[in-house]
Symmetry: C2
Subunit: 564 residues, 2 copies
């Protein structure tokens, strides 16, 4: 393998990260992070609308300039690196993050006429202003086109494409009318780099289209105009100005334009990989393959798996998305998630206990000294609803089993356990429907820093917990995609597994399940499922609530009596 | 009414309080508090046995000397007071607090032979070392003498007389064998003042006997020897060395001995009232009468009511005790309770939030700004089990409805609400079985200090919450009892209501239920009862758990949408 490099760009909620990666071994030659400004730009909020979260598209362009320039400057200092050895650029972003664009494919908000209107900016993934539209879309699809819901777990979300665009049409019809088209951030950045100047020329990734816009080859692309007309005839009109086909990674989104090549000192015409969501490229950068579950553990958790695309797999009830080609071409991409993981611990430590990082550390240390079952507590991890497998945002948290001696460290541990039980429910559901899971690879800050968390997950899942070698797997995955898109002839790769084998790694540190802990957690998981199914409204749930607190006490007392 | 005075003595867990009270209007002429020392004496604990709580009887005698002398010294400064105008002494104590005594009615622990043995000391009400014995007594009674359980709510407690004495027999048989007899602290102190020098000469109060020792006229006093023999033949032997009759308040426990009269400068031979438990005399001091519920709100809550003794009343399932004459002669004394009230708030504020009194105040202020239903939370108040109406120590706490924005003040309020719902369950149960409750009078520190707490109780119970005029109702009630025991001829009273009308008061400050809050709390109470009945194992419970979180969210959203 010649000494070539690719660039991975990771558009997060608060920053843009650029990484220059060696295609030989995935090592980082240079990296730079651009934090979005917190003043006029940055995440745009409206105190009168707590569910609103927008972003000025100028931030995306400024972030691109500064992060890439910074990463290349760093790489320049690395022996063997030169800018003409960069063979491709890959981009991952948050999503669904749609933005309205004009006839030249420029974001509407860059036009002074529209800049003051929050609806003309990018609608961040976490914008929840479209709750009513999501409910209405789900209802309409249930009645008239249930096939649309099957691959997305049965419920359309307020975080997704059509909910947001429809909400814009309702609350800011002038913005809707002024927009020639709309684009996902994941498609906008590659198109920008490629110098695309017309909306229909933007190459669209199947990742965003399939998971967020109800796109499927099964019904010829986006939802039929007849369905969209039921929502609003203007949405059916918009359909014609969007796109006919969405494509998997590996297909180029374009080549680097002369202008950007000049700006960065890179070669014009190098490959621009298909855009993709951070979780999906994070899975690629974590070495996802058939039988591997990648858990991207952060404020929330995104679970990604793949299964060979040649054999159709069943729709899995409650799994957010199963889309052919969304993670890697030739495979079904299967996505699930938990709405609050790091956020749940943050709520407890910072919100309730009003502590900081040092309290996180001390609670973690105290919680580590506890045995499974010792606290007598059990919790449901639903403070932000349940994304998988119940797909219900209108669920809330529960903590049970408190005495007058219950400590904050015990609750901290119970909350970690609750997220682990939620993770186990997802794994069991996937396996039940034939998705093989033999290996679990984790990435994200919690996986790298919180040993207690990882050990509990190993014990609850009954599975070793591996950790991805790179601390920035989404950017690495985008760089892998760029290397595959460039191809072997250009100094990259012709196969995904070939690229992953060389460019991605697993840390030697891993967490093995401990048999005694696993046995207790099997019992606790049973109790969790009783509560989960009963409060989650699973048909046929038969919890034995009258004995539930006593069973927890019995577990607790067994541990006190027999510390072995 | 001539200017006479009585002395009320209140033996708490941590202190002895003496109060010199005017019989004319219940005003305090002098008061003094003796805090038990925290060194060798004071509450005796054993780090190896967390459920053990004992007290050295020497503390009781020292407390008597110092508290009474101090209160009289204060009273000496009051115009019109003189020690020869003191016409009687009344005593209330914690209970069940039994202690072993020798053939001269002296506490065994005062004998140097036994002092080092913790079993020879007083077994404090909160000593829970006898859990196994309580279960065995309940089981034996269920099988062989179910009538014994009916007046005590169906379950014998580890806090009570026979559990503790039996446990002593098991773990310290030498102490058991050395004891000529056992006495409740409530009977010991009056006997001490009266100079009683033989166990059989101690006058026993029906309050302790009926509520804690399964004494009833219905089966000729204490449980039959045949029943006690099933537990241990030595307990049947002990029965013969205890007592045949227990008597209601109003009957004298004796008269003041020459020695104590000399020590205190009081007249020899003045009336010693029957001893009684703090809660019962607290009810007397709060003006309890037919139709009044007195709530003594502290770390836990004790509810007391009375009903005319002429008409037999049904046993009320789940009510700890219904004993004829236990509060006032001629009335059934009805006792219920909640295991954790102030303790539940203390757990949250001090245990979890790790704050102090100032945090209590600030959380209370923040919680006051919340509307009923606004937090979306509901809790069960079972962190220390449920005393009434489920009578189950093996129940634990539950908090439900948390989001990532749930605050500590919201939880604080939800915990207060949970105790109010628990209080409502008790009131509803009493009414259901024909105990009239038309007026609620509260006493204790929380009632006097926490306006938020009192308003929530008024809203949840749908009943004005009144506050007893005296801050020390148990001691006042004991002083009332002394005035009645002395009788009108001695300058006291011949009737209880006569004495109460003059000596007890209600504060002018009261809390009225607010109709809008009451309506929301009616809904929340319905949800509380679904959880209460389901987790509490009430037969026929049919909770709709699948909709429960959503109903709480709907309440919350209605409040946000319509703040009126």
């Amino acid at each position: 393998m010649s000494d070539t490099y690719t660039l991975g760009l990771d558009y997060g909620t608060n920053s843009v990260r650029a990484v220059v990666v060696s295609t030989a071994d995935g090592s980082t030659a240079g990296t730079h992070v651009f934090d979005y400004p917190s003043g006029d730009h940055g995440v745009l909020l409206d105190p009168r609308q707590p569910h609103l979260a927008r972003q000025h598209p100028a931030d995306y362009i400024e972030g691109l300039r500064i992060a890439v320039a910074g990463a290349l400057d760093r790489a320049d200092g690395v022996p063997g690196f030169s800018r003409d050895r960069v063979i491709g650029i890959g981009v991952d972003t948050t999503g669904s993050t749609p933005l309205p664009i004009d006839a030249r494919a420029r974001p509407l908000a860059l036009d002074p006429t529209w800049e003051a209107n929050l609806a003309a900016h990018a609608w961040l993934w976490k914008d929840h202003t479209s709750a009513a539209e999501a409910v209405a879309i789900t209802e309409a699809a249930r009645q008239h086109a249930p096939e649309l819901l099957a691959p997305i777990g049965g419920t359309y979300s307020s975080e997704w494409w059509w909910s947001k665009i429809w909400h814009c049409l309702k609350v800011a019809p002038d913005v809707f009318d002024a927009a020639e088209s709309w684009v996902e951030l994941a498609d906008f950045v590659p198109a920008l780099l490629a110098g695309v100047d017309h909306p229909r020329a933007i190459v669209r990734c199947i990742c965003a289209a399939g998971h967020k816009a109800m796109y499927s080859d099964a019904w010829g692309g986006l939802p039929p105009a007849s369905f969209l007309s039921r929502l609003d005839p203007k949405l059916a009109d918009l359909r014609g100005r969007l796109y006919d086909r969405a494509l998997p990674p590996g297909t180029p989104a374009g080549t680097l334009s002369a202008a950007w090549a000049r700006e960065f000192g890179l070669r014009e015409g190098i490959a621009i990989a298909m855009g993709g969501f951070d979780a999906h490229y994070g899975a690629v950068g974590s070495g996802v393959r058939t039988g591997t579950l990648v858990k991207i553990i952060g404020t929330s958790t995104c679970d990604c798996a793949i299964a060979p695309g040649a054999t159709p797999i069943a729709d899995v009830p409650g799994i957010c998305g199963i889309v052919n080609g969304s993670i890697m071409p030739g495979y079904y991409g299967i996505e699930a998630g938990q709405s609050a993981v790091g956020d749940l611990l943050k709520w407890w430590v910072e919100g309730v206990c009003q502590g900081d990082d040092s309290l996180h550390a001390s609670l973690s240390a105290q919680a580590s000294a506890l045995k499974p079952g010792e606290s007598g507590l059990i919790a449901l991890d639903w403070n932000n609803g349940n994304r998988t497998i119940l797909v219900d945002t209108r669920l809330t948290g529960l903590i049970l089993g408190q005495t007058l001696h219950t400590t904050r460290a015990e609750v901290y541990r119970a909350l970690i356990e609750a997220t682990a039980f939620g993770a186990r429910a997802i794994v069991e559901r996937m396996r039940e429907y034939g998705v093989p899971i033999e290996r679990v690879v984790c990435c994200g800050g919690i996986a790298e820093k919180n040993d207690l968390f990882m050990q509990i997950y190993a014990d609850v899942l009954g599975q070793p917990m591996l950790i991805a070698g790179s601390p920035q797997t989404p950017a690495l995955g985008a760089a892998v995609s760029a290397a595959v898109t460039a191809g072997a002839a250009a100094g990259g790769y012709d196969s995904w597994t070939g690229a992953q084998d060389r460019m991605t790694t697993i840390k030697s540190k891993r967490f093995e399940p401990r048999p005694a802990a696993r046995a207790v957690y099997d019992e606790l998981y049973g109790i969790y499922r009783e509560l989960h199914d009963a409060f989650g409204g699973v048909a046929g749930a038969r919890p034995d609530l009258a004995s539930l607190m006593k069973r927890l006490l019995a577990l607790k007392e067994n541990i006190v009596v027999d510390p072995a």
